[in-house]
């Protein structure tokens, strides 16, 4: 049964139709890359899934139940988690606290008043473990403000991963990251997701990364689904080449 | 000024200089200020307090700390009716608001027999409410045949009286009882004059004589004024010599006439202390301690610029006659003419009864 499924999902801003009747689905453990030219509606589509925007028509079924207009935090708690293109982290908190906050939220322990974080251990060790996995371990006590943009991006992804999502949506996970460790991030992500069976959906412009890491590619143009299939097939498709990869 | 005069004459009993420190009751938190004066600085006597909230706060603390204290200007009847029912160290050297409110009712009954409809305009805070309640109770108690058509309570520190004045214009009462004072009185008068409220309505301001100084040009002739007792520099008759030289020394020192009743109340407060010390000393031959001072204050009586003032036996609250007059700018100074005196006993509750009880069974 699909982790997530959309039926004729449409979003209109006045007369402009940003997303038009998109049917899409993603299976457990599948990694799907979304490609498309700027303005194709990729981000709007993701915003519809994560609840930042509400659909004009059509519905989204997640884990078997329709989402209707469930708020962002509700979807996150149900396992539909996103990370941000521009990293959204808590600047005044340390890296450890950032990740730990996500873990505690996942375990619905936000309102526990009496377990002193100084002595409470589970979330602490889990957070350290996760940070190590993403190469941020030794800087765990630095405040998020003090680390470079690239690392903030990784921290952002780290926080989303900490939610143990059913479906993780990444908005250009490697943008702003130095080219040599773009692959490094994608490798870490893939290793992590091999251990869990959660699905991953990521928007990407770098076709090389899409080809290497995506099980399936979903191409969009002018708000509509162009083609949805394995990377080799989609990347070689004529219109994809012309419209998206810019090769004449 | 009064203390300087006493010290010039050698101080109390001709040998003790009074050292006077002044504090503003409204800047610091009054409970904190009072405790500091009573305990840390340990003054012989604390005299003062205008705001009724402060007086009600300080009263119980004075009793607790056994600190002789004189309230010289606060009018609230709640002080001895409710806050401090069995005072030992707390005294008040001015009469309560019953002098003004009950006095006004008596003026209505005896001097203004043609009044049919009455309205009230009092600031919406304790002093205003206290005055209005007493006035309406007195009207009932003396069953004066007037009907109260309107009672308005504009907020204290109100910037816009236009709607209040319009309402009064519409209900068009013959007589208005008002305890307005300060900026609100000036504000109300300016807007009332503009809208011709006083053309066919006689207002009675129970504590409004200070406006003769603040905005004399806003005071038309023929309005009824009280001064919380006989505390006016000009107008009225039969003033003693204390009154005349108090007014003249006040004018020479401050360059304006003591139109506000507070000046007279201050004189009374300080001299009550001085007289009490002197009486106790003459009686016992030794400088009185707190308890001797308190005993001497009870039942004290002495002459003041506003006539003979006395604290009746068994009470800690001085009583004063009620005094009213019509504003008159014909003379060299704004004064009150056709003044009426009403005896102390008629406008103050007997010693053992609260004001409410007294009015209840007249």
């Amino acid at each position: 049964m699909a982790v997530l499924q959309t039926k004729e999902l449409t979003k209109q801003f006045g007369e402009l139709t940003a997303v038009e009747e998109v049917d899409f689905q993603i299976e457990r453990g599948e990694i799907v890359g979304i490609i498309g030219p700027n303005g194709a509606g990729k981000t709007t589509f993701v915003n519809l899934l994560t609840g930042v925007l509400n659909a004009t028509v059509g519905d989204i079924i997640f884990g078997g139940e329709p989402l209707k207009n469930a708020p962002v935090h509700d979807r996150a708690n149900r396992g539909l988690v996103r990370s941000f293109q521009i990293p959204q982290v808590c600047d005044d908190l340390t890296l450890l606290e950032n990740v730990r906050s996500a873990i505690l939220s996942r375990e619905q322990r936000n309102s526990s008043l009496f377990s002193l974080l100084l002595w409470e251990d589970e979330s602490r060790s889990e957070a350290i473990e996760l940070l190590n996995e993403f190469g941020l371990g030794e800087r765990q006590n630095l405040s998020a403000e003090a680390i470079p943009h690239g690392d903030k991006k990784i921290l952002d992804v780290c926080m989303s991963v900490a939610m143990e999502p059913e479906l993780l949506i990444l908005d250009e996970p490697t943008s702003g990251v130095a080219t040599e460790n773009k692959h490094e991030i994608m490798k870490r992500l893939r290793n992590y997701f091999e251990t869990t069976d959660s699905a991953v959906l990521f928007i990407e412009h770098d076709m090389e990364l899409v080809a290497e890491y995506a099980d399936r590619v979903f191409a969009m143009d002018q708000g509509r689904k162009l083609i949805d299939g394995p990377p080799e097939e989609v990347l070689e498709d004529e219109t994809v080449k012309r419209r998206i990869r810019g090769e004449e | 000024m009064v203390v300087d005069k006493i010290n010039e004459a050698g101080g109390i009993l001709g040998e003790r200089e009074i050292s006077l420190d002044e504090y503003d009751e409204n800047t610091e938190e009054v409970a904190q200020l009072y405790r500091r004066l009573a305990t840390q600085d340990d003054y012989d006597i604390i005299i003062g307090f205008v705001s009724s909230a402060n007086a009600l706060t300080v009263g119980p603390i004075a009793e607790e700390l056994q600190q002789p204290t004189i309230i010289w200007d606060t009018g609230t009847t709640e002080l001895f009716d409710d806050a401090v029912t069995d005072p030992q160290y707390l005294f008040r050297t001015c009469a309560s608001s019953s002098t003004d409110a009950v006095g006004a009712a008596l003026v209505l009954e005896n001097a203004l027999t043609d009044i049919e409809t009455v309205a009230g305009v009092n600031q919406d805070y304790a002093y205003g409410r206290n005055n209005w309640n007493l006035f309406s109770q007195a009207v009932e108690a003396f069953d004066i045949d007037v009907d109260i058509v309107e009672a308005r309570f504009p907020p204290f520190g109100n910037e816009d009286f236009s709607s209040t004045v319009s309402a009064l214009n519409d209900s068009n009462p013959d007589f208005i009882f008002s305890s307005l004072w300060g900026g609100d009185l000036v504000n109300f008068m300016t807007q009332a004059n503009d809208r011709g409220l006083f053309d066919d309505t006689l207002p009675c301001f129970s504590g409004g004589t200070h406006i003769f100084r603040d905005a004399p040009d806003q005071v038309p002739d023929g309005l009824l004024f009280g001064a919380r007792g006989p505390h006016v520099p000009y107008g009225g008759f039969g003033w003693n010599s204390l009154h005349d030289n108090f007014v003249s020394s006040f004018e020479s020192r401050y360059g304006e006439s003591p139109y506000a009743h507070g000046a007279f109340h201050a004189w009374q407060g300080i001299y009550a202390y001085v007289n009490a010390i002197e009486n106790a000393f003459n009686a016992s031959g030794v400088y009185p301690d707190n308890d001797a001072l308190v005993k001497s204050l009870e039942g004290l009586g002495f002459d003041t610029p506003s006539g003979f003032l006395n604290i009746p036996e068994g009470s800690h609250n001085a009583i004063e006659p009620s005094f009213w007059g019509l504003s008159d700018s014909s003379g060299e100074n704004l004064a009150l003419t056709d003044s009426i005196w009403i005896a102390k006993e008629q406008v103050n509750p007997p010693v053992e009864q609260t004001t409410e009880e007294w009015l209840g069974n007249i």
Partner: protein, 308 residues
């Protein structure tokens, strides 16, 4: 009987319009400065009170200097000129010096800290005024007396000054409306409300525009004070009342919108004038009930578009 009922309402309507005018001047100034310059100045209302104080001094000086040498109409014109030109000019100068020294460092702060810093400023201004003009209430009734009053249908008399003030504010309102819709500076200010970096990039000296808008806001508040004082007295303690009223106009009208400020001032003016006549006990609370109600129904305010 019905006629009498109607005529009774006339003074209330006039009161409401006058109060609305003062609130419009106060609220528009605050709305422009906050909406366009994103500077939240709790002390803005203190400029209205300052305007009233300065107006009282100006009026007493003029009456002192000219006395009745010019006859009533001549004196009245001088007084009005004094109130409409000298007073706003002085307040604008005071406002500018404060802008350079006190407000500039807090532009960069977050809204919370701007609010707190200007809370400190209003305390300073209140005591400053008490220091200069003393604690006693201050009046400046000469202009209103000279203008006199008229007798309305129902026989009650009504001073002309509030009517003069209302008409004047309408004129100012139209001028403002024209300024923002038509003139170049107006359009730049509206653009700056959206995003002042972009405006800056196009070479327009945003700092100069910033100052001009600030001065307009302060002058409007000063005018509000100057129009208010002839008909009432002013004490520095009233600054608080005006702070809350100013924000009520901002909240109800909606951020940075002129139409909103007009609508909100009228709404508050009428509810306050009729409210305090018919339900006097609620005198103070009316404004808050209105504010809370509008916020619950339409958080951006009647005409605002920027979501709170």
């Amino acid at each position: 009987m019905v006629i009498e009922l109607i005529t009774q309402q006339i003074p209330l309507v006039l009161n409401a319009l006058f109060l609305a005018s003062v609130l419009f001047l106060l609220g528009t100034g605050l709305s422009i400065i906050y909406g366009m310059l994103n500077f939240l100045n709790l002390a803005h209302a203190a400029f209205l009170v300052l305007g009233a104080y300065v107006a009282s001094t100006v009026v007493t000086q003029i009456v002192g200097v000219f006395g009745d040498t010019l006859g009533t109409s001549g004196l009245f014109i001088i007084l009005v000129l004094g109130l409409l030109i000298i007073v706003p000019f002085i307040i604008a100068m005071v406002g500018l010096t404060m802008e350079q020294t006190i407000f500039k460092p807090i532009y960069g702060l977050e809204d919370d800290y701007q609010l707190l810093a200007t809370f400190g400023v209003i305390l300073m201004m209140e005591d400053g005024m008490k220091f200069i003009w003393g604690g006693q209430p201050v009046t400046a009734s000469a202009p209103s007396e000279l203008l006199g009053s008229i007798s309305l249908l129902g026989g009650s008399t009504y001073p002309l000054w509030p009517i003069f003030g209302t008409v004047l504010t309408m004129v100012i309102g139209i001028v403002l409306y024209y300024f923002f819709e038509e003139t170049r500076l107006g359009k730049i200010t509206l653009a700056m409300a959206e995003d002042d970096e972009i405006v800056g990039v196009t070479g327009i000296n945003t700092r100069l525009v910033h100052l001009q808008v600030y001065v307009i806001g302060i002058t409007l508040a000063a005018l509000g004070g100057a129009l208010f004082i002839p008909n009432a007295s002013m004490t520095s303690g009233l600054a608080l009342q005006f702070v809350i009223l100013a924000f009520a106009v901002l909240v109800i009208g909606g951020l940075g919108s002129l139409k909103g400020a007009i609508a909100a001032s009228l709404l508050i003016g009428f509810t306050r004038s009729f409210g305090s006549y018919y339900i006097p006990q609620l005198e103070l609370a009316i404004v808050f009930i209105l504010m809370a109600a509008v916020m619950l129904i339409k958080p951006t305010g009647l005409f605002g578009d920027i979501k709170a």
